[in-house]
Symmetry: C2
Subunit: 395 residues, 2 copies
Amino acid sequence: MDKKFDYESLFSKSSLEIEISKVSHAKYDFAVAYPPPETIPLNGLLEGLSEGLSKEGKDLAYYPDVMGALSLREFVCQKLQEDRGFFSDPDEIMITQGSAEANNLVIQALTDPGDTVITEEFVYLGTLRQLRRAKANVFGSKLDENGLIPEELENLIKKLIKKGKKIKYIYTIPEFQNPTGSTLPLERRVQILKIAEKYLIPLIEDDCYVDLRFEGKTQPSFKSLDSSGLVIHVASFSKLLAPGLRMGYVIADISVLKRMMSFKSSQSSQFVSLAIEGFLTKNMDNHKNKIREILKEKCNAMTTALGENFGGINAKWSNPGGGCYVWLTMPERINLTKLQGVCFDKGVGFIPGSSFSPEGLGDNCARLCFAYESPEKNRDGINLFGEILHQLNLI
Amino acid sequence: MDKKFDYESLFSKSSLEIEISKVSHAKYDFAVAYPPPETIPLNGLLEGLSEGLSKEGKDLAYYPDVMGALSLREFVCQKLQEDRGFFSDPDEIMITQGSAEANNLVIQALTDPGDTVITEEFVYLGTLRQLRRAKANVFGSKLDENGLIPEELENLIKKLIKKGKKIKYIYTIPEFQNPTGSTLPLERRVQILKIAEKYLIPLIEDDCYVDLRFEGKTQPSFKSLDSSGLVIHVASFSKLLAPGLRMGYVIADISVLKRMMSFKSSQSSQFVSLAIEGFLTKNMDNHKNKIREILKEKCNAMTTALGENFGGINAKWSNPGGGCYVWLTMPERINLTKLQGVCFDKGVGFIPGSSFSPEGLGDNCARLCFAYESPEKNRDGINLFGEILHQLNLI
């Protein structure tokens, strides 16, 4: 054949063309969603893996259990009981490639094109993309500094029902929400769960930042408060250990897991499971304490610099007690969606609020990741951000 | 809520209920699809990982490139050029969770429910399951001891076209086919490629056993013979290193990769990539030689025992020059589909031919994995198999 074959007419109706993008980084990269690279326990993971391989290495010859390595699922049960206050059975846990795969499988199992789904008004970009790929109609529910507002959520549900919509599920990150950094207090969780029960709407709880608290008290998980079975609990080792491991997990009703299984391409890596279990079994508390100290210093450096640069104008920013992000709200006249490119070119990366909004709102907002760069770069980068806006006569 | 929530009404139309099965093993387990466990280079992988982490460990803080670690893709390019005779660009390679994910993404990108797909008449179980999940109509094309028969393939294509079917693609394992162990000679590959070009049907070449040859000559890959762009090349590190790593790759036209991306839940693990690249860069040839010797001994032990036990009846078995499987064809009166359970209970595990057939044919055939058990167990297990059939007055 002279001409290269054109596949266009063969693609399945359910497939979409996804651009294969390469990530570029600004000098001061607050656009990322990475934990502190200096906390990654490279030697500890190697040691954990080495021990695991000497005990269970021969298992690498097997195709792993479809639900993931049993020993890691047992470890997760113990972690959830200690950290998140609920019992689960290893049979209800599926090990996944980060929380990304967990969320994607839940979304594929529960979403038909045109289905109605509720998220926070600003929602984690990865999940928003997955929901769009599943052709869901996504409605954002109002947030304040304490996360989802129960009354607003119920009003939205009523409004959608009135329009004849059946709401398939609610997706939320209750602890250090991505992108706003808010944490839902206990009372709101109880109220929201009552609403979910009243309207029989499942609730996907994405708990991927829970290990990163350096101030205040971790709130009980939705799952620990739930007796209805409506809560699907998703979490990850990406923030606690490293995104490059690609490992997370999901706890759900067995009927949901069986449906998720029909979209799962492969079992999760036994090799990575052994490293994680080996390391965390011995080092969980020490490691968490180390991360927390580093995160706190980085967060302080960023919020202090925000105060010095934007304290005089009508700007607000969150003061998170953990997680990775500060949420910045500028005066309405400052359009950060439009300024993203200019700032990136001059050395400051961030993601504008509009990228996280199902409706494209939030031009004057931005998510700033404080976890990745050093405290010094957090300070210098925010100072440069201030200078850029000053040079543009915006502040 | 008193009663547990019932999700049944919420599941997406595209989801299927998949039973979450636990694998059980017979005393002599010839049912598995595992490489020799004693060849897994546990220390070598640890060393490779250790080196990789000391050089690139900070990258674990990043979410990996959507296509997989660049350094591993570059290594794969080099391996393909040396071992499979074709050049490719790292941008055309996607790292996946084993070949399982690679195949599944290709199938999802190219298959609508009801689509017509051609495979070998006995086809790898995992792919057959994926095709069924995608609701493809699968037609098996006749095999002999040299794999797909080009004339039979063209006849099948003509027959299907006559019936008004549009054939979406052909899936084949040309080297040590699973389950029959056959290898397609060069002339047949050339003929089959011509047929694919004549009818404009893409060909998925699953090359996952290519590294396991202990006798004879590796045949050129379809991809190396292809100038049309019709060949999609899939391969894996599962057999060369260990299934528990969960890593493979696919080379395809960028337009296909973009569609596959819409079903990919997560990037592949940087951690596993570093271990594989670190180990193979230094040890590929030594490691391959080690596997080959062990495989040869195991294969001989099994075929010798088959001769001793079934040489006197009208049975046939393949004499593979590599891979993991011997294909056993018993006289028609011996129904191995029905005997599978009895034999398993008495200690001999195998998978009957009918499990691999889109049409459920092949009751008198079985796939016997010689790679997993020791030579002694291969011998003893086949002896026991003979005894069982003798006790049942079948031989």
